[in-house]
Symmetry: C2
Subunit: 603 residues, 2 copies
């Protein structure tokens, strides 16, 4: 029987064979955990995800959220799943003490089972952490405590109808009251969980501009705006003037309500300044957005993880279907009298499956690798090493966000394709994954924005040192692989790709950008995509190197598993990377038709 959501053996492979999570647990910081306890937690997460989240996912897609008179009802089945998630203290795994990889991989199981449900605790926790990080102890006790415990909801209130990717354009205003609070006024849209009937209270983290603050991003401040006012003693006060005016009817992720909120429609919305620029104080310009951006870095990794998780679910559904669905003859035996075979025997189906598997495995490794770097930073005393690791993380964040979410969509589409006509119906689970996953490439900064971040900021960070450190990490893997004669050629091919991406980066920086910034940025997404492919090849070759060492003498089951690693790397490096090399050639060509074509010529 093919597994659901994620491959259990593969998770353990990443944690204990690729990464050294057992070693990590020897450190005093994490020594309450060990392989046994971590595996138990993964077991429990699997159980909860499969028993409660998966059924709720299907129902939530069907019923969606209900809006009436300013109130939003989330799907009924979500309440029980959220109760169990909260009672199980799953969200608190992200607290220091537990290795980050454990929280990441368990949450990814919940993402893979039902991404919509996870929006609620994810936002409570993220916003609670943001408030705690900036606000200090009193504020943390007053607001964050209940958010981090999953008792109160939280939101990130950024977008306005005319301020989406461009937050600098926002017009929601704040005015200081005599008591030190601020009156908030404005309309916000696309607020996930902006109003809902699960939590007793919702704490909004709102971006707004204090009267007199400068235009653009530097004049933006960050406010705490509770749905129900919270007194300084932590007790609830009166209902605040925050009104939900509607929810979006969306393509997918239907169980997660996307709300329009009006703040101060009756002139009575109060907020607390958390960070930002009140001209009367004359300082802290740009601090409001900076605070939010810290939260967004973590959120972007989480969105990448949502992408990985949905891809993992889609792959396993498709694999299971391909094993069970009998249709057509084996191509090598096409006579009418030969028996029909499961479609996994058809080469084009296998091509789709191995493409999906390579990306799913590569993404799983990438996300846990980066999370492990954050764990290593926590226990390291070596400042240079911490800086080096943080540089690699920062470089990889836009790739995780954009590449993993684009691939999630493509993997889900392939899953639908493998199911054929059945996949297009709501009777089977894959079309929903396709619909759900499309939003991942849009929210938390569109994937285009991520590519601007990669090319415009991350590549040049510390004079390119983070990028060089990133390439060095890959070279460690190719050097290891070269010790194995069977992998030597693959390692050489991957090194050629590293050389080429370095050449392309240099070419963009020294040849294309100086001539035209716009022409340079017209290659930002192709550059990100190619880098992502190379990261996949890196992860897969790393896997293959370990698997090649262990396959001899392994149990039958393990040997099959290791064979999968070896074949996936082989496939990816010989059959996918050549296309990537071609795409990099295209950047070197540097054709500027994209930016020189006049607007009228588009039609």
């Amino acid at each position: 029987m093919t597994q659901l959501i994620a491959d259990r053996r593969d998770i353990e492979f990443v944690l204990y064979e690729m990464l050294d999570i057992e070693g990590l647990c020897n450190h005093e910081r994490f020594n309450e955990f060990n392989k046994r306890t971590i595996n138990m937690m993964i077991n429990e997460a699997f159980n909860l995800a499969i028993k409660e989240f998966l059924p709720a996912n299907k129902e939530g897609d069907k019923t969606g959220c209900e809006f009436e008179n300013g109130k939003v009802e989330i799907p009924d089945s979500y309440h029980r799943a959220l109760d169990l998630y909260t009672e199980g203290e799953w969200v608190q795994l992200a607290d220091p003490g537990c290795p980050g990889v454990v929280g990441m991989i368990t949450n990814a199981l919940f993402f893979g089972a039902c991404s919509s449900i996870m929006m609620y605790p994810g936002l409570s926790y993220g916003t609670g952490l943001l408030i705690k990080g900036i606000g200090g102890e009193d504020i943390a006790n007053r607001f964050s405590k209940k958010m981090l415990a999953g008792k109160w909801g939280g939101t990130m209130v950024l977008t306005e109808p005319d301020a989406g990717s461009d937050l600098g354009a926002l017009t929601t205003s704040a005015k200081r009251n005599p008591d030190g609070t601020y009156s908030i006024s404005g309309n916000k849209i696309f607020i996930s969980g902006g109003e809902q009937n699960y939590h007793e209270n919702i704490i909004h983290a709102v971006l707004a501009r204090i009267e007199g603050a400068p235009e653009g991003t530097k004049g933006i401040s960050l406010f705490i705006v509770p749905k129900i006012w919270v007194n300084e003693d932590g007790n609830l006060g009166e209902t605040n003037d925050v009104v939900c005016t509607g929810i979006e009817d969306k393509m997918g992720l239907k169980g997660s309500c996307t709300c329009s909120l009006t703040f101060g429609g009756n002139g009575k919305c109060r907020g607390i300044l958390l960070a930002g620029s009140d001209p009367e104080d004359g300082d802290d310009e740009g601090e409001g957005l900076k605070g939010m951006f810290n939260l967004m870095n973590g959120a972007r990794i989480n969105v990448g993880a949502q992408g990985y998780a949905i891809a993992s679910s889609a792959y396993l559904y498709a694999l299971d279907y391909a094993r069970k669905r009998v249709q057509g003859k084996n191509l090598e035996k096409m006579r009418d009298e030969d028996p029909s075979v499961p479609i996994i025997e058809h080469p084009d189906v296998r091509r789709m499956l191995i493409w999906m598997k390579s990306h799913v495995d590569g993404m799983r490794s990438l996300i846990l690798y980066v999370t492990n770097l954050t764990d290593l930073i926590e226990i390291s005393d070596d400042d240079d090493e911490k800086t080096r690791c943080q540089g690699i993380i920062d470089f990889l964040i836009p790739i995780i966000k954009a590449y993993c979410t684009d691939k999630a969509f493509e993997v889900s589409a392939q899953a639908v394709q493998i199911y054929g006509g059945y996949g297009y119906t709501k009777e089977y689970p894959v079309e929903m994954l396709l619909r759900d996953s499309k939003i991942f490439s849009i929210y938390e900064g569109t994937n285009g924005i991520q590519s601007l971040d990669l090319l415009g900021r991350k590549l040049a960070m510390k004079k390119g040192k983070a990028f060089m450190d990133f390439l060095e990490e890959i070279k460690k893997a190719t050097t290891n692989a070269k010790n194995n004669a069977n992998l030597e050629d693959q390692a050489i091919k991957l090194e050629a790709a590293i050389d080429k991406i370095a050449t392309v980066a240099m070419h963009l920086g020294t040849k294309i950008m100086p001539k035209s910034i716009s022409a340079g940025f017209s290659f930002s997404k192709p550059f990100l995509d190619a880098t992502g492919d190379i990261v996949m090849a890196w992860m897969l070759l790393w896997r293959s190197t370990i698997a090649s060492q262990k396959i001899e003498g392994a149990s039958k089951k393990d040997a099959s598993f290791y064979e999968g690693q070896i074949k996936s790397a082989e496939y990816y490096i010989y059959s996918v990377i050549p296309g990537t090399m071609g795409s990099l050639d295209a950047i070197i060509n540097g054709n500027d038709a994209i930016v020189t074509m006049s607007d009228e010529a588009f039609g």
Copy 2:
């Protein structure tokens, strides 16, 4: 104002500047038409599509079809649109006398406005034609006449729960009655328009196996099974034993009902043998499926046209949005005091738009080019030339079906991306196009099946002559382009791609296939995709060659249009084709991990 559905100027460019439709109309076969009348028809089609089909499309997606007690109600708004389409005799454009390109481009406008509605007349017409073609005059008068006129519906009844891509596995049976009719018995699924309340009667074209006929495809016969029996004089008789047992709840194309039908559940379903193998007659083995396949060739081009049409609509919506949506600063001027700009000024948005435009224009040219070949065959007296043209058509059919539908989905996904969060909501039209277009890659033979057809049949057809003729056609375009110094390098690049695809085809045939058929077919889809890219480059270079000649001295509007052609070709050949070259390298690598990996190793 950006246009809706399709670019009017571009349609005329293809008809009168790329292809010589005016010249075609000089032939007596088509001389009732000329440029003026064709343009009038295109105008009318635009009007009907925009005024009636577009609003119905949105409503149909919302309401879907209703199933109750064996009856299916299609969306209310479809009735009026279908009445107008039928009264306007749009379906009859496909009759001889009107150039095929005119029927194709007008129908594509309706596809682009509402593909769901078009399923009903499309199937009436296609099935009517099939019955007429095989059945002879009496049968045509009895059934086809009213189908071709749009009075009766028609269906293609192939799929069963365990016989989808593998029709040879079907189990629906037929037994000869004393009166020469057959008793049909079996369950069919995924029957588009299998039951609906628009047409007075529905004529099902049903694949079934006569008792005693051989297994597999050669034992399949084709039957006419009317919903309501049609007497020999054409009058309606009693209701036949065909029961709709349900409709699919689908991801998209919701206005087109996808029915499950039970034939002969009460033992009283009568059908008329149209083609096939009744063992009592001892002949005609395999004729049943052959008849259906003739219909399917036309249907596959039409599905490709659906893909093109949805892509065209998606592109124009996205272009319009990109022109109107103001967000962020121009990258060359990033100060807060600079004005915000429409997002079409952002390089990454332009990259998406030019990618979409290149494919939309390329697909429009491809589909009309192939349809024009069928027109040319009709008026040609030269048998060799007819054979040559038919070979090119046959070679291109799987590419049109698979490539255009895959690109339709990708173009729609890019459209959603350009709309950002708005694109994910049902308030805007693009997420529906994304959902609708996914089925195109599945029905009428999955895109994987198309690639088997291309590699397994079409490439080897006439010892490769069709493939060589196809490449020669591209060389005509590169030879022309080389006369223009500005295009010479692009022509050389495209010729390198032609050489490479020829090398790859040879390599597959002589090196990979002889070693392992399965390994060969694991490259069928990548081969199809690469060929499709090269076809796009061919069409775009052809366009650019014409545009380059005409841009000097053209009106301002025309000059912009021609500039769009020149830039698109430049973009495609320098920025897309290098990736294609890399993908072809991957095929030459010939890595066989896809087929050598054991089933267990997939996880």
